[in-house]
Amino acid sequence: MRLDCKHVWPYLSDYIDGSVTAEERAAIEQHLEHCEICSAILDSVHNILILSADDRVFHLPIGFGDRLHARIEEELKKAIVPEKNSNGVDDGSLDE
């Protein structure tokens, strides 16, 4: 399997996730070996994923945890035991 640049791009996302076949993987890597452009694109996509995954991107609002747990505490104080089951039948799935 030989790939040119345009045909490599659609595989990059799956390649990053490791979800390409062995054959596709070999063809992609063979292409990347001598294609600076696609290698750079792969690097940039991958780096953008690392950046996006960083906790500093979409950081939690300040006080989020405190407000959440205060609300949970209120809910717990209502003394409503969680429903046994959404349809009212205990199927025992949580039994130990």
């Binding site: 799956d14 694109i41 690097d43 991958h46 979409f58 969680p82």
Partner: protein, 211 residues
């Protein structure tokens, strides 16, 4: 990332259901960030996302007995948050709801931004405050159907199959949207990343942990 094992979780859940309700705090703590990220992927607005995440977590508490031990707690929770966020979006939006089905530009050809090479160390790049804002904005600007898939995969670290189950989509469609979302972000964000010349080594070193 959540640290508790599935067994720890199972026993926590069993104890909560048996009456040790206070333990719900402990059960939810590793997932509260996940809940928020899921909500903001749909609602975009910080305040709305916080409200929806809180409400969904309380709903999760109330229906905790409905949780099936075969499922992962994280995906179960994500589904509840997703439903809560989507129902709020439907109620609030005066504009026609941007569909989670095929985005309007689905047939455009996706071509990446061409770069000579890029060598900035990501964690250092984020020291630049404006870069994280740019990334957030770029993600927020994605069509909703792409944004949600991107956030679930690349921020919440759900698997393709889990995303497919959560959104009721075919796994292949999830993959296609993920690819397009990533390429769109690459195109929009690459101009803001610093270019470094390639030394041509260690190119695949980062693959180690992912594959």
């Amino acid at each position: 990332m959540p640290m508790a094992t599935a067994e720890d979780e199972q026993s926590l859940i069993a104890r909560i259901l048996a009456g040790e309700r206070e333990l719900f705090h402990e059960l939810i703590r590793p997932y509260q960030r996940l809940a928020y990220l899921t909500a903001i992927s749909v609602l975009k607005n910080v305040g709305d996302a916080e409200d929806a995440a809180q409400e969904a977590i309380l709903k999760a508490y109330r229906s905790l007995a409905g949780f099936r031990s075969e499922a992962k707690f994280s995906t179960w929770l994500v589904t509840i948050v997703m439903n809560e966020a989507r129902s709020r979006l439907r109620k609030s939006s005066r504009v026609i709801l941007e569909s989670l089905d095929e985005p309007s530009n689905a047939n455009e050809e996706f071509t990446p931004a061409l770069v000579a090479d890029w060598r900035e160390i990501p964690s250092e790049a984020l020291e630049r405050q404006e870069l994280s804002s740019r990334i957030e904005q770029a993600i927020a600007d994605l069509p909703q159907g792409y944004r949600v898939v991107f956030m679930l995969r690349d921020k919440d670290a759900l698997s393709i199959q889990e995303i497919a189950d959560t959104l009721g989509l075919q796994p292949n469609l999830v993959k296609v949207r993920l690819f397009r979302a990533r390429m769109m972000l690459q195109k929009v964000l690459t101009p803001y990343l610093k270019l470094h010349s390639s030394k041509g080594k260690g190119r695949f070193s980062w693959m180690g942990g992912k594959v």
